[in-house]
């Protein structure tokens, strides 16, 4: 029996009919075609599926889509404004903060949630903010440098 789900993703409202057991990550990827959000483990251990739900970073494989009913979701596809990249995206490019790129969407969302909550995190707080996200390529330090650069104001977001 399918259920109705209303949610807003990257500013766009959607109405979906889904099986109750559908995970949020499945709704985003399979129903809405937002494949930027990845799945690496399905047990909320790798962080590749991280999105922002109602202002909080969540692992979208760990909640049912119906739990997000009425909520607002931000995925990696919603970070840029038109063709203008988000400061974190620019910093990731400049600092080479990704390689294979599979963890990158989740990493960007964790970092975005961190900076939304605390615009001036310390290095240790940045490390804590991305500790739930595994990156097998970079060794994290370039990611920490990129986030630090944004914190220091190297990238001004155009309002």
């Amino acid at each position: 029996m399918k259920k109705e789900l209303r949610l807003t993703v990257n500013g766009q409202p959607y109405e979906l009919y889904i099986k109750p057991k559908t995970l949020l990550v499945e709704a985003l990827r399979d129903q809405l075609g937002l494949t930027g959000t990845k799945r690496g483990c399905n047990e909320s251990a790798c962080g590749a599926c991280t999105v922002i739900l109602n202002g909080m970073a969540v692992k979208s494989c760990s909640i049912l889509a119906l739990q997000a009913d009425g909520g607002e979701v931000l995925t990696v596809e919603g970070l840029a404004r038109g063709t203008e990249l988000h400061p974190l995206q620019k910093a990731f490019l400049d600092y080479g903060a990704f390689q294979c790129g599979f963890c990158t969407p989740g990493m960007l969302m964790s970092a975005t949630a961190l900076l939304d909550e605390n615009p001036k995190p310390t290095k240790e707080q940045i490390k804590e903010g991305i500790d739930g996200n595994i990156c097998r390529c970079t060794g994290y330090n370039s990611i920490i440098r990129a986030v630090t650069a944004v914190v220091k104001g190297e990238y001004k977001e155009e309002k």
């Binding site: 990845k38 483990c41 990696v76 995206q89 990704f98 599979f102 490390k127 996200n133 370039s142």
Partner: protein, 757 residues
């Protein structure tokens, strides 16, 4: 000012904008019209005969479109060592026997993953369990169960390397050490699991999109296994979520998706689960090491003897190469006048072991660098000094094996020594350990039996001056698309944004062996440089005519400006000449071709990178826990083409190699891997990651494009050994088996206390 305009610049990766916006479409993301989803049934037994497989119930499940078993295949065995049929031992879909927990026995295609999963439960397989053996030291015994028919003592491959007179040399040594070590397994943990979308049409052609390190290998191996013509198979590598050695052999997702698609003439997608990724793909080769090392009082190393038994797992895979390379790199990076290696790869009823970043060298470097520190302590010599005394130098021949041209090992050791001095006196229970290492820039091996050049590239210059670069090199995240585009732009004299790279698609790119053995920068880089030079020469013919150049003048292109080298202001726009050249060639676009196969470079590799690393640890003697405080590396890789890329390789290697030394392990019980999930498999996360420092070393490799050589795998070699040496420096305990866990440190500390009492 640099003589280069693109090389050495800090550039954005060419695949960057798509990757930071979620736009990059991996195999994992692909959906084709009419596509079905596949799942694979795997053996729950480590060793068993298959008596019967009944698929009838599964086939009747609504939504199931096909169920295949070994009977639906040609019944061939495959392996990447194609020149040696006896080493092609893996059916993928087993017909008569399973040899490890995870061996595939059937595959299902259904309208969705849930239905396919449900169908797996309906397949009835009758097994007759056989006695199994898990440890190579047991498997090599007379009465051990035989895993492959006709393979005595389960010995899969043996390798012998020798030069000098080892026995005679040991007689001349003042001091000899004999030690044993155990090197553990390690999982690659690519963030994108193995996956494939296979689409076979009524036209008899198969297209496979897959996450791979070598589209060409997969194309050829699929041809072997399906009976299709090689060129009727097109393998396309979309952006790939990591490889690290796990993705250049034909895997179960690729093969089963292809078999199912060929049966149905519909696209079939298979994505391995994370559990399958841990239990049923390949992994780093565990090794038992015995090493005997002899030296003179002054620290001169006279002889080394190494004997290794590796846990092969159920199939050969790339394990035969790991067996060879661990033996060769066990002599690195030192000038042993006398050296002997005997390696045995033994089949076991465990998941097959194979290539993983460093390819046998992280094991040999952990062993060699640990033992060298012990030797230095026995002789009362500083660890840096003993490495300096015996370290390789430029233009050194490893007797009968390899010829080393560029070698910056001594500069690396100097820099690491400076770094250690700068750290000053350390607090108690803190120590810095070092390790020196070297690695190859691609292998000169052709066990695959390719008739093609090892690397090739095509450069096409279009009417608007945009350059299409076609290469079989596979960017799996390491950044070869960017590095090769930089080489192409530099050679042609245009900007990076003028290049559009098309890679890893066998339908349009020339064959390349792929991304393994740290080969792309040197081998494919040489091919790209040659192709770009070929295209450039064609442009220059028109430019010289246009400018009416005196033939004694040299001309060049820099930053899209074709000019006289001695009078750079005199010239003409690259774009104008391209237009005229194409018009002048009767409308034919300009095409440059390049290829590279190493010749007369010994038996291993055309070039070698070198380095030294210092790891600093702080040990808590109450718990045995320790923190990786800092890892500083002096790595020389010749000319640096892509500095951002090298930094990423270096820091990333520390996460992976540090993990190998520090925490990563795959404990097993009766052949069953006990931690097949990311929650249970401990990796270094951001909070455990040490500070990383890179010390720049300047060298030039004559064989490499613009003087470049590898910077990928070599970096995974030193860290485990450096950690072992650091723990010893910090608290005086020596751990000879990986990983160096708090439990082992604590146990050793307790034993040490007992001895003192």
């Amino acid at each position: 000012m640099s003589k280069y305009s693109v090389i050495g610049q800090r550039v954005h990766r060419v695949d960057g904008p798509e990757k930071v916006t979620g736009g990059a479409k991996y195999t994992f993301d692909l959906v084709l019209p009419n596509m079905l989803y596949g799942k694979i049934l795997r053996s729950p037994h480590p060793h068993a005969k298959i008596l019967k497989i009944d698929t009838s119930k599964a086939e009747k499940l609504i939504g199931v479109k096909a169920v295949v078993t070994g009977k639906d295949t040609l019944g061939r065995k495959q392996g990447i060592w194609r020149r040696f049929p006896e080493l092609c031992d893996e059916e993928i879909l087993c017909r008569e026997k399973v040899r490890y927990i995870g061996d595939p026995v059937a595959a299902v295609a259904a309208i969705d993953e849930d239905t396919a999963e449900e169908a797996l439960d309906l397949i009835e397989v009758e097994y007759e369990p056989l006695p199994a053996v898990f440890d190579p030291l047991e498997a090599i015994k007379e009465d051990a169960p035989q895993i492959h028919e006709g393979v005595e003592l389960n010995i899969n491959v043996t390798r012998h390397i020798e030069w000098g007179d080892v026995d005679e040399a040991f007689k001349k040594c003042d001091h000899i050490r004999e030690d044993q070590f155990k090197c553990s397994s390690q999982a690659h943990v690519c963030m994108e699991t193995h996956d494939a979308v296979a689409s076979f049409g009524y036209d008899g052609k198969l297209t496979v999109w897959t996450s791979t390190q070598s589209s060409y290998y997969i194309q050829r191996l699929l041809a072997d296994m399906t009976g299709l013509r090689e060129s009727d198979i097109r393998v396309i590598k979309p952006p790939t979520g990591g490889g690290f050695g796990s993705k250049f052999e034909l895997d179960s997702a690729q093969f089963c998706a292809s078999v199912l698609s060929m049966k149905l003439c519909k696209p079939v997608k298979i994505v391995l689960t994370r559990e399958e990724e841990f239990t049923a793909t390949k992994r780093r080769t565990p090794m038992y090491y015995y090493v005997k090392l002899g030296a003179k009082k002054d620290g001169t190393l006279l002889a080394k003897e190494t004997r290794v038994i590796t846990e092969g797992g159920a199939y050969t895979a790339m394990g035969a190469t790991a067996l060879y390379l661990t033996g060769f790199f066990s002599s690195f990076p030192y000038k042993y006048p006398n050296y002997r290696y005997d390696g045995y790869r033994v089949y076991t009823n465990t998941a097959p072991t194979s290539a993983m970043r460093g390819f046998g060298a992280p094991q040999s470097t952990f062993v060699g660098e640990s033992q060298l520190d012990m030797m230095a302590e026995d002789l009362g010599i500083d660890p840096i000094e003993i490495r300096r005394k015996n370290g390789m130098t430029p233009n050194y021949e490893v007797p009968g094996q390899a010829y080393i041209q560029s070698c910056g090992l001594h500069q690396c050791l100097d820099k690491i020594e400076e770094h250690i001095k700068e750290r000053g006196k350390l607090p108690p229970n803190r120590g810095i350990g070092i390790a020196a290492y070297g690695f190859m820039s691609g292998g000169i091996f052709n066990w695959f039996d390719t008739p093609y050049a090892f690397s090739a590239a095509i450069v096409r210059i279009n009417i608007d001056g945009k350059v299409d670069l076609f290469t079989g090199a596979c960017d799996i995240g390491q950044g070869s698309d960017t590095t090769l585009s930089m080489i192409c732009a530099e050679e042609l004299g245009v900007r990076l944004e003028d290049i559009r790279v098309h890679s890893g698609d066998t339908g349009i790119c020339p064959a390349d062996l792929g991304a393994w053995g740290s080969r792309e920068t040197l081998m494919n880089g040489n091919a790209v440089k040659m192709a770009a030079a070929d295209a450039k020469r064609q442009i220059m013919e028109f430019a010289a005519a246009k400018l009416g150049a005196n033939i004694v003048y040299d001309m060049d292109i820099k930053d899209r400006w074709i000019h006289f080298v001695d009078r750079p202001e005199r010239g003409v726009s690259y774009f104008d000449i391209v237009k005229e050249a194409i018009r002048g060639k009767d409308g034919e676009v300009i095409i440059g071709r390049g290829h590279y196969t190493p010749h007369r470079k010994g038996m291993i590799s055309p070039a070698y990178s070198f380095g030294a690393q210092a790891a600093e640890v702080a040990v808590d003697t109450e718990t045995g826990r320790y923190k990786l405080v800092n890892v500083t590396t002096a790595h020389e890789s010749g000319t640096v083409i892509n500095p951002v890329g090298i930094e990423g390789q270096l820091e990333g290697a520390i996460m992976m190699a540090g993990g190998y030394g520090f925490c990563e392990d795959q404990p097993m019980d009766e052949g069953k891997i006990l931690n097949p999930s990311i929650a249970d498999y401990k990796l270094i996360r951001s909070l455990d990651m040490p500070e990383t420092k890179i010390l720049e070393i300047d060298t030039y490799e004559p064989e490499g494009p613009f003087g470049a050589k590898e910077a990928g795998e070599g970096l995974t070699n030193p860290t485990a050994g450096a950690i072992a040496n650091a723990v010893y420096k910090a608290v005086g305990v020596r751990i000879n088996d990986l990983p160096i866990t708090p439990e082992k440190v604590l146990r050793a500390l307790k034993e040490k206390k007992k001895k003192i009492k």
